[in-house]
Amino acid sequence: MARKIPLIPTLFLLPSLLFLGIFIYFPLVQNVYNSFFDFSVFSPTKEFVGFASFQQLLQDEVIVAAFINNVKYAVISVLFQVFFALVLATILEDKVFRRIAPALRVIYFMPVMISISVIALLFTFVYNPQMGLLNSFLELIGLENLATPWLGNATTAIYAVIAMSQWQSIGFITMLFIVAIQKIPKELYEAADIDGAGKVRKFFNITIPQVKETMFVNVLITVTGSILVFNEPFILTGGGPGFSSTTLSVLMYEQGFGKDNMGYASAIATLIFVLSAIFALIQIRVSGTGKDD
């Protein structure tokens, strides 16, 4: 048994524990509880329905469509952000580009600094069918037959939303990789130089093994972000046309605050929590959060 902790430090902990208890843990429990009831936002009573919401969830085709969109989000984001960002970070850290790299780093990072609501509004202009930057550009290079109302077309809407996310997030992941690459001991590369290894070989034999942990964490961040994604589709398309670009979080919001099916929305939120908690747990394990070293 450790020595008794004085009063002041104990009091120091209280506000944090209260905040987490009231606004994080209680809502978590409350949300699971709500999943078993049927209620609307201002109704004083909740009607117990057991697992009905979860049964509905498993048979709901829209949920499946939304989940597939989340998966598309995750796959494309991992491929593009994690792999492309790693290549980009490696190139930026190469001695050859030492003069220009700092400026490029700032440019690539710019969209990260700007609020998603601003970015999403900006992309309504990029994707605008008549005067949008994308269609105007396609016209400029003679590919006007590729032009389409990107957000109004059920096949392209989700990809337009995903593309915007890549545009915004690439700089963030690149920055994380740059930090990791800068931590690699220089001797490794020097030794490889002596062995006459080319850039490509150094990338595969030194850089990748050395940043493996960062890579893994970045995959987790990206996948977790893709499971939770809400702002981008909500602002850009509202999940439409139809349900073609909806995601689990957007559905949860629509069911809860749009249709006032609070119980069903809670069940969707529970599903989102289970999916994201799996990856969050792995992340806590991998990055050793809270360890004393």
């Binding site: 524990l17 905040f19 009231i22 220009i100 490029l104 994380l176 006459g196 961040i221 989102i272 994201s276």
Partner: protein, 303 residues
């Protein structure tokens, strides 16, 4: 290279070196390296244009009339409509801006204060209760706003806080605390014990050790926390949309959506509002870039 040869006893490096450079002549090597270097550079610059151009377009178009935005997508404005900014400001951006500033500052103040207090205790004491508290706090990272949305709406309704700035401040603080405590605690653990031991001999109280030794020493990590928290509070969209209905209390992210609906075709004014909304964060992050990168890489949590 020369040095390597000198220290080289077995001739290993020499042979490997020869083997490596045998197939190619020097001239050919330089040429291909040169070509690929410029191809890559071109790619980097093209990518920079893709990233930067939409932002540049936003600023340029914010100074255009509607007709010109619509009919002359690429060109510079024929008349520079600086009054778009004044219009945006007076049409509502000023109040969104003020609300965002209030909510962001209050969130930062509370997160730093409450978070550093908890980190202080968690870094200086060990017991099973402290361990349990730490796990409780780290576990908070797994929670996300989407899952808490409906219960929080209920709680805030009970507390009669819907449609007040507190609805955002309290929930933002709760969601920022876990990561903040982890970051500050890690820093506190690195503070040498000798400092406080001599302070205790001089009769310094627990509170004194926290306020006079720990806080002043941890300015860098506190700045990191400030940047990350500001970034989150300034940009948060979901809570800001759901918990605040009243036009006069909206923060920038949710306010801009109203702004868009109100303006319909007055695009220049909308774009001006978007630029105004972006400026403070860009300035803050440019000034405190070092702290941001550090926080992002240590916290590894997407904002």
């Amino acid at each position: 290279m020369i040095r390597m040869v000198k220290t080289d006893v077995k001739g290993d490096y020499l042979e490997r070196d020869r083997a490596a450079s045998k197939p190619r002549t020097k001239a050919k090597l330089n040429l291909t390296a040169g070509i690929s270097k410029y191809t890559v550079l071109l790619g980097l610059l093209a990518f920079a244009v893709i990233i930067l151009y939409p932002l540049f377009w936003m600023v340029i178009s914010s100074l255009k009339s509607y007709d010109e935005i619509y009919n002359n997508v690429w060109g510079l404005p024929s008349v520079w409509h600086f009054e778009n900014y004044a219009t945006a400001w007076s049409m509502g951006i000023s109040s969104y801006f003020f609300n965002s500033v209030v909510v962001t500052l209050a969130t930062i103040a509370l997160v730093v204060l409450i978070g550093s207090m908890a980190a202080f205790t968690l870094s200086r004491y060990r017991s099973k209760w402290i361990d349990a508290a730490l796990i409780f706090i780290i576990g908070g990272i797994m929670m996300n706003p989407q899952v808490a949305l409906i219960p929080l709406f209920e709680i805030l309704t009970w507390l009669d806080l819907i449609n007040t700035r507190w609805a955002l401040i309290l929930t933002y603080v709760a969601f920022r605390l876990p990561l903040t405590i982890i970051l500050i605690r890690a820093f506190f653990l690195s503070i040498p014990k000798e400092l406080e031991e001599s302070a205790i001999i001089d009769g310094c109280s627990e509170f004194g050790i926290y306020a006079r030794i720990y806080l002043p020493l941890s300015i860098p990590i506190i700045l990191t926390t400030v940047v990350l928290t500001a970034f989150f509070a300034w940009n948060e969209f979901l809570f800001a949309t759901v918990f605040i209905d009243s036009e006069i209390l909206k923060t920038i992210p949710s306010g801009l959506m109203n702004f868009k609906d109100a303006l319909r075709t007055d695009w220049g004014v909308l774009l001006s509002g978007m630029v105004i909304a972006s400026i403070p964060m860009v300035i803050l992050l440019v000034i405190l870039q070092k702290f941001l990168v550090r926080g992002l890489s240590e916290g590894s949590v997407k904002g």
